[in-house]
Amino acid sequence: MLLIHCPYCGEERPEVEFRQSGEAHIARPQNMADITDEEFEAFFFLRDNPKGVTFERWRHVHGCARFFNAARDTVTDKILMTYKAGLPKPDITLPEKTLALTVDPGVSGRSLLPGDAK
């Protein structure tokens, strides 16, 4: 179970108090009736699903009930930071040490990074 810091309550609480609500920073088109099928598909169905840092929405349903965003490493499940909804996507680069621990060049499908064990 994850421990998640709610940026509104200012407390770290267990995951069961929260609902994950999908990928963050996907803006709903203002002109929904006019967009093409391709644009709707990209908005509604296509997802980055990254192996590494993901940005996702959480809702503190059993707390303040508010939505906020989190940056999390999907390889370790470590939450790197949480921030209030509406703030821009933070620029997060995993420190090299974390990468070396989390990226196994034999199995990850990613190319070697400087500092990785060869």
Binding site: M1, L2, E15, V16, R19, Q20, G22, E23, D37, E38, F40, E41, A42, F44, F45, L46, R47, D48, N49, P50, K51, T54, E56, R72, T74, V75, T76, D77, P105, G106, V107, S108, G109, R110, S111
Partner: protein, 417 residues
Amino acid sequence: MRKYSVFALAREAMRAHTGWDRQWASPEPKADYDVIIVGGGGHGLATAYYLASQHGITNVAVLEKGWIGGGNTGRNTTIVRSNYLYDESAGLYDHSVKLWETLSQDINYNVMYSPRGVMMLAHNVHDVQVAKRHIHANRLNGVDNRWLTPEEAKDICPPLNISKTARYPVMGAAFQQRGGTARHDAVAWGYARAASDRGVHIIQNCAVTGVRRSGNGHVTGVETTRGFIGAKKVGVVAAGHTSVIMEMAGVRMPLESFPLQALVSEPVKPCFPCVVMSNTVHAYISQSDKGELVIGAGTDQYTSYSQTGGLHIINHTLDAICEMFPMFTRMKMLRSWGGIVDVTPDRSPILAKTPVPGLYVNCGWGTGGFKATPGSGHVFAHTIANDNPHPINAGFTLERFRSGRLIDEAAAAAVAH
């Protein structure tokens, strides 16, 4: 390939089992192939086998980043069934059940397909209506499924608690007799052996790190941890890592990868005769031939590649198991594990061509791909060989998320399936 038979067994018994061959070869990768399959799980190996056996395409390599069958093929709960609601799904999954029925003979490998029956419990009026709707839809599609009263369900599965005062009383069940279980490792090994025998190269410990395309966009091969390997066609069968591989080819997928957990108990004597599933209390259970109870839990709520899930998820499942089967309350659990499953928005798979010429994808099996292994490989091989889908997988396109022609088993089951 030396045929496995009772005579071969008797002969080897006479000479201390010194004459068995390796089941599949481990060749060095060639410079190029007609077809490369990315992913050496059951679906990928089945695809390679049917490419060779049905379509005469034997210049094929299966690239596996770990060892074959070491991913979700070795992590699932081995359930086989085809009682899906929609016509497309019934067609695909029942095609698979038909192949399961003769698979051991076809590939000369005992996959231990055991049609012991799959019972899906109904605990409330809504469940009853949904189950009966499924039964009617299945029978119209020629898929066996029938309604059981609680007493009939208990006759088939004596450990079931049908007390009226249970927290989730059993109001009846849908029962598919042809459903059951099979031995997951044997499926991977059997397909690998049969494919290797027909000339397919099975290359383990070879992770794909890039997809190379020519000037006109056509696939020309894959970069791997063992160097570049050329191919005229590439089939991606990478389960939870499909998004990662497809991103290398510049295709964004309608997929999210979630951890899915399962667990087994200590082995006990045969006590549980069929597979029991309950969507409402979110649990399913069967007993392996080794005697372990095999229990499947739900997915975590967040995407992940960590192959672990939260303890509260399996706790929730065990609560439900103990409620339905009081005799298991003191059973010790032996192992639990997680796998990463790729889930589509409509919970139906994608078996299709992609916008990239020469690149094909078989993914999105979500929490229930094992049952489809033979059928999936069979129609995906057809899709790759003919550059056109088989009628059975024609609806399982990537474009359906653009056209809106979904196969919405998510709404039909309202649960992981």
